[in-house]
Amino acid sequence: MKELIDPEIESTLKTVTPAPAPIGLRERILKGISTGRRTKSLTTPLMRFALIGCLAFLAAVIVTDALIGKIQMDRIQTLVGYPALHNDSAVLPLPGEGLFDSWPERLWIDRMPLLAYGKAPRRTWHDIRDIKALWEEYDGN
């Protein structure tokens, strides 16, 4: 590689040297950094206000979510008689366990979507209400 590089041109270019940095540039640069840091830091009133606002909003979202969840759990428990996080596979009877054995074949096939509902790990109050309505409709039949 070196033999391809022209030494004459390099030496020509090296005969001129870049101008040195202006006097006082170091102080200006370092002063500029401290100014920039202060204006962009989290300690400025505006940034502090924005940070407090964001934290308050986050806390409000978390508390509201927890409250809504608790209200829905209570409604589900009132409706079905057991907590929404109850293991459904233990409650809903499976084929061959005796309860559905005497039912007509067609009715059992119709119940399949209900069992699919029941496998959901956590159901909403609306899901439970729909299931219960369908269940009662079948029981009415």
Binding site: M1, L4, I5, D6, E8, I9, E10, T12, L13, K14, T15, V16, T17, P18, A19, P20, A21, P22, L25, R26, R28, I29, L30, G32, I33, G36, R37
Partner: protein, 164 residues
């Protein structure tokens, strides 16, 4: 590294690189300020940096690219507006009244930006091709090729100038 340490070790070279890249001492000062503000925010990255000089020049180069992007849509105001195709002002060299300085600054201005950058880093900053490759984000062979092509163009330019 603290900003003071960075300036004491590399500040002069950084300024000269910027002056040659941008062709304007005023713009060089502005971009140097922005680069130091950026480096001051990188305090946590230093422990992962193997080659501080290459890292600093890489940050510097990125700042120059940002400046060029900003300049694209701005109207030209003078002869020595900084930009990828900028004419290098003779004042960025130490003795701007000499004929050689004018010749070199004009010759460097004629080079494509990527070749000019390699020449500046190699000749005036004394960096190795591997460091230049790390700064430019290219392979070592590419950096060496750009340098070779640049020297060939400069040679042709000097020959034409000599005949005048």
């Amino acid at each position: 590294m603290t900003p003071e340490e960075i300036y004491d070790r590399y500040g002069e070279k950084m300024y000269q690189y910027l002056a040659l890249r941008l062709g304007s001492p005023q713009d060089a000062e502005d971009i140097l300020q922005e680069t130091f503000c950026r480096l001051a925010r990188y305090s946590l990255r230093w422990r992962f940096v193997r080659n501080p000089r290459a890292f600093i020049f890489r940050v510097l180069r990125n700042e120059v690219c940002r400046h060029f992007r900003r300049m694209i849509n701005k109207p030209k105001t003078g002869r020595y507006d900084s930009g990828p195709d900028a004419v290098i002002a003779p004042t960025v060299f130490d003795r701007p009244d000499e004929r050689t300085v004018r010749l070199v600054s004009r010759a460097l201005s004629l080079l494509p930006d990527n070749q000019r950058e390699v020449v500046i880093l190699k000749i005036y900053q004394g960096l190795s091709f591997s460091e230049i490759a790390a700064i430019c984000g290219s392979s070592v062979n590419t950096a060496a090729s750009r340098y070779r092509y640049a020297l060939a163009k400069l040679r042709r330019h000097f020959e034409v100038e000599a005949k005048k």
